[in-house]
Amino acid sequence: MTNSSTEVDEFGRLVVRLPDEPAISRGPVFVALLWEAELGRPRPARLLYSSRCDRMVYLSEGCLVQALCADRAQEVVDGSRTVDGRLIAPEAYLKLWRRAVAQALPVHRLGLLHNFQLLVHMRGTLELLREARCYWDTSPFTCFREVLQRYPQAERQSGRFELSLDLATDGAARAAWHINTMGSQAVGCEMQAWTSELELRPIASVRQADLFDVEPVETDDVLPH
């Protein structure tokens, strides 16, 4: 059964697996990507459920399914969301995502296969962060000063902390998770004093293999000397 008048059609999904490292979660953690078309117009790929209250979130399988049940799986029931142009049962919809989790792509292959980079951006007020401590014994940092020693470029003269990490680099996912935890705890109720977000950034460079597939430009004009 197809439905052409649907508001949103979901035509792709991908789950990216972050490296298995201790102290992030009891099990593996993921980032979810979605491709959808709204009223027939395809939209660029985007991240799903990647932040809560202006703070980055890594998802466990359970958290992802729970979040889907709260919105998108309900939308497939009333037909306002289709999958590949077809109406689908909510159980089948969740099964698609479970399969995506089972076949999750390691984060370091995201650039190679999909031309995307997964970045985390963290910003905060240094004054509140300097004395922050980390209480996780598996953290690469015991306090925020060690973060500043490892990433001196993050300390800005304006009194701000600004750090961006590529999650495909070794140890970045774990470092980002601990820095975010420390930052969130340090600022307490001053929520605006610490923000962190994930960004899905298309890689601008052309793949080398594509360079020789370009059609030659046909023109009668004589090139000027």
Partner: protein, 171 residues
């Protein structure tokens, strides 16, 4: 941490303007309320509306299965299995024996459904539940099926805001 256990499910079916409408009654309760031998439980209306509306509400509840805050028969259950259970319930044509439902509308003060109730000529009076102010709306027995109009118009209202169930055998 406490969690909810569900023990029994029943679909009370009625037909409104040629379309099947359901009140899904669930016998359930918290795992840590009761005595040492038996957790407390009671029947209550948990989902209400057309098959599609009920299924949508079931998907919302299924989120809690994934976090294990909701455990049918005290066991872990996937979200998909819970949705399937409710789908089977509304698609099976077995009549639940003895069960009945009746409107018992209790709304928060200022809820837009109150002006709908006023337009319908239904009397209302302020009341309180668990220390919170509510407005009780009286729907005449001969108009009881109009409660489904509230479900259609106000998707934020839950079954327990609108109806009560009775006559179902406890486990």
């Amino acid at each position: 941490m406490s969690y909810r256990i569900e023990y029994q499910w029943a679909a009370l079916r009625t037909t409104v303007a040629g379309e099947a409408r359901f009140v899904i009654a669930v016998e359930g309760g918290d795992n840590n309320i009761g005595d040492a031998r038996r957790a407390a439980r009671r029947w209550e209306a948990c989902m209400i509306g057309s098959a599609r509306q009920v299924l949508k509400q079931a998907v919302g509840f299924a989120a809690s299965c994934e976090s294990e805050m909701l455990r049918p028969l005290g066991r872990r259950c996937s979200a998909e299995a819970y949705i399937r259970r409710i789908r089977c319930l509304i698609e099976s044509h077995e009549q639940t024996s003895g069960g009945l439902w009746f409107p018992d509308v209790n709304l928060l003060p200022g809820h837009p459904a109150l002006s709908f109730a006023r337009d319908m000529g239904w009397p209302s009076e302020p009341t309180s539940r668990f220390g919170c102010s509510e407005v009780h709306v009286e729907i005449p027995p001969q108009q009881r099926e109009l409660v489904f109009q509230l479900v259609d118009r106000f998707s934020d209202l839950r079954a327990w805001h609108l109806v009560k169930v009775d006559g179902l055998l406890g486990s």
